[in-house]
Amino acid sequence: MEQNEINEIHRAYLRHEAKTRTFVYLSQLLLLVLFFGVWEWLARLNLINVLIFSYPSKIWALFWEKLWDGTLLPHVGMTVFETVVGFLLGTLLGTIIAIIIWWSPFLSRVLEPYLVIANSMPKVALGPLFIVGMGTGLVSIVAMACTVSVIVTTLVIYTSFKEVNENYIKVVRTFGANKQQIFRLVILPSSIPTIVSTLKVNVGLSWIGVIVGEFLVSKIGLGYLIIYGFQVFNFTLVMVALAVIAIVATLMYQAVAYLEKRLTKQFK
């Protein structure tokens, strides 16, 4: 087969791929437009209760208004701050606990049933305890966000520590490595992909902790906006808060996914 024929087949394949891609994008856009269009239309015809479901143009107007009068961004900033601190702290603490129980097999056997209980427990149920113990401020909310992710992080990372191929450990042991060197040179680097991917999961978990925490106590934050809107029966405000959460949470997840791709390139 001639080279130009091969090139031609490849070009045809690329054209087909591009066409499919465009079609997917268009369909996604159409779905979005359709969703908002139908919502708006139903509201205008009074087929759905506007008081409860609001409608896109009203939500957009309120969003725009709150953005410009400066009453929205402080809420976004606080929630993002709490979420980031919560998931970083949760991942860090979970990793540290995992290291400790990896280090001492005895301790890991002792703690096993407690970890299982802690993992099965719905962590947000502990909310009132945090508020009683740590006050009605930022600390309680961050503690909640952190608690939601810490146990599952510990279990996932500890498992990945244990699943490191024995032969890599054997390689460093034949050079006379001690336990600290085994950990630093083999266990930790081979678990980095797992640790980074728990970051991705923990972003989502941390959002749960923060929003529930804000439901319970706060005076500021997107969770507070939702509860406030709910209490004064301003569901347009609730919808604005939900939309902002959807956008910011997606951006945050994408940022961590990008970080994961960069950090774990060499570990494949």
Binding site: N167, R173, T174, A177, P189, Q266, F267, K268
Partner: protein, 265 residues
């Protein structure tokens, strides 16, 4: 104490027995092994899987302590991983997150002897293996044979006096394996190392070794030994395989091995 021989061998195993104990059973991997390897010798241990070959290497390297008996290197009892011993595994097990250069410096890092001199020696070995241009590459960019050569450099970089080889060719294709056999023999002769090779491939053992020990299993023990004639052992493995008396020797040892295996049934 009186068991230490007058002229210490490089490696000596003295009535070595090793048990593996788990919650379900206690399994005797090797029993009553006596083995003597002189300095500069290339010794091959051949046997079916489950005859305790890898166990013997773990005992010599000090990764495990024998349940009974003694393992001596230069007349001294082995307690824990010795710097005199280098170990090559069945696969390269290079660290994907380190460059080739950082991989071959691994042992130097662990033993705290990484300096300009030892680094240069490691790079010199890499050059001997014709892999200098891959210094800054990552393992995933190399072929299987190249990776195993890097693993050899990593082991030799710490300048061990004894090299333990645990079926280091088993994961390679045939052609690569033949080339690597020659390369390893050349390198070991040039650097005057003592070596113990474990394999289930009899022709590999005869082609590479000065001495071949046949092991039988359940529990693992030495059933026979053979000194490879100088006419064959002086050659490189590839030439040895083509030597006129090679196949005759192979068939003779093959029969002994069959008899040994039948004997355990």
């Amino acid at each position: 104490m009186s068991q230490v021989p007058s002229s210490p061998a490089k490696i000596q195993l003295h009535h070595v027995t090793h048990l593996y104990v788990s919650s379900t059973n206690a399994f005797m991997a090797v029993q009553g092994i006596d083995l003597r390897v002189e300095e500069g010798e290339f010794v091959c241990l051949v046997g079916p899987s489950g005859c305790g070959k890898t166990t013997l290497l773990s005992l010599i390297s000090g990764l495990e302590q024998p349940t009974a008996g003694k393992v001596l290197i230069d007349g001294e009892e082995v307690r824990g991983a010795s710097r005199k011993v280098g170990y090559m595994l069945q696969q390269d097990y290079l660290f994907n997150w380190r460059t080739i250069e950082e991989n071959i410096f691994l042992g130097l890092d662990i033993q705290g002897i990484r300096n300009r001199e030892t680094e240069e020696y490691a790079l010199h070995l890499l050059n001997e293996m014709e892999l200098s241009q891959f210094r800054h590459a990552y393992p995933s960019q190399l072929s299987g044979g190249m990776r195993q050569r890097v693993a050899l450099v990593r082991t030799l970089a710490c300048q061990p006096e004894i090299l333990l080889l645990d079926e280091p060719f088993s994961a390679l294709d045939h052609q690569t394996k033949l080339k690597l056999e020659d390369l390893i023999i050349l390198t070991l002769r040039r650097h005057k190392k003592t070596a113990v090779l474990v394999t289930h491939d009899l022709s590999e053992a005869i082609a590479m070794g000065d001495k071949v020990y046949i092991l039988s299993r359940n529990p693992g023990r030495i059933s026979s030994e053979l000194e490879v004639p100088k006419t064959i052992s002086a050659l490189l493995p590839f030439q040895a395989r083509n030597h006129e008396s090679f196949s005759e020797l192979f068939h003779k040892v093959w029969k002994e091995m069959e008899a040994a295996i039948d004997g355990t049934k």
